[in-house]
Symmetry: C2
Subunit: 206 residues, 2 copies
């Protein structure tokens, strides 16, 4: 069985990342899920190892120091992260993993699992369109919009470290998800991942 791969999807606010990833999960229902680790206390009914791996803050920080956390975030004072061993488990089952994370986390996943990670930067087709989307929400102040635009420009300075850049045209979520599906299919056919089939031929009836 082919080993799975990690597809990391990043994109500035307004890129439509969440919608595209949801469409992608519909398109490829066999995508895997990894259980995250968190320092927050379990809620009634939550099962350790199923909903989350519940760990103490000390344990989480030790995992971080040991490079056992692929990416993490702090939300309402609690830490949440993807464990390397958990990702490995999903890939070994032959399933691909989608991680929707911001730029720094994305590059950290690539650093920790370079051979198994493919990075994709999702963006609006052009900055004018991004600005239109951010303004279209009608809820943000001029200041917030300007800071989002400048943040998008900062984030895109890291695009050269990404494998792929995919534009998400307005109203074309499905087309965008299809482009990512193409990338997923293609990456499994790279020579480095097909080596064992090639070696069978070379060894045949020698």
């Amino acid at each position: 069985m082919n080993k799975g791969l990690i597809f990391v999807i990043s994109g500035p606010a307004g890129s439509g990342k969440g919608t595209v990833v949801a469409a992608l999960r519909k398109l490829i229902p066999e995508l895997g899920f990894s259980v995250s680790a968190t320092t927050r206390a379990p809620r009634p009914g939550e099962v350790d190892g199923e909903n989350y791996f519940f760990v103490s803050r000390d344990s989480f920080e030790e995992l971080l120091r040991n490079d056992e956390v692929l990416e993490h975030t702090n939300y309402c004072g609690n830490m949440y992260g993807t464990l390397k061993c958990e990702a490995e488990r999903v890939l070994t089952e032959g399933r691909d993993l989608i991680l929707e994370i911001e730029v720094e986390g994305a590059l950290n996943v690539k650093r920790l699992m370079p051979d198994d990670t493919v990075t994709i930067m999702l963006i609006a087709p052009d900055p004018e369109e991004l600005e239109k989307r951010l303004r279209g929400r009608g809820t943000e102040s001029e200041e917030v919009i300007k800071s989002r635009l400048s943040r998008a420009s900062e984030e895109l300075k890291l695009a050269p470290q990404y494998d792929y850049v995919v534009t998400n045209e307005t109203g074309k979520t499905k087309e965008c998800a299809e482009k990512i599906r193409g990338i997923i299919a293609a990456e499994h056919q790279r020579y480095s991942r097909m080596r064992s089939v090639v070696e069978e031929y070379i060894a045949y009836k020698k």
Copy 2:
């Protein structure tokens, strides 16, 4: 407009290359065609620059020496080849080009146009299946079958120089063509080919 790319497809006898490329052309009708150069004389009704570029053997050899021929072959004493300038013309129109050629030619295209060329090796899912296909034809002697198998194994030694390896399962031509379509879509999204969009963002409202 996005520039086109050259997708070179190679595969040992029995890989089903011809059938897969035909299915791919059906799947992506907008693929481009390049007019080949040949040393053979025009037949009645054939138009220079339309059916072929008709050239003398001396001219063809000079084109070869000047690295202006991406790949060529000798058939019934006449030379046939793909001109670099003609491929460039198709790519500039924004069309992708499929070249179905053997291993040495493929690597030559990659050498002459490295940034625009993607190489794909097509193979039967395993050598046992390839042998079955070659025997299934029922027309070849034991000697011929053995020489084809050993040639396939030799050709696959060059697979590490290919970008992709795609298996063509028996009776699944369309699935195989779909995998190649995924590769075509993905390659257009590589960072190096999306650089101009990224640069627009970085320059925006500076």
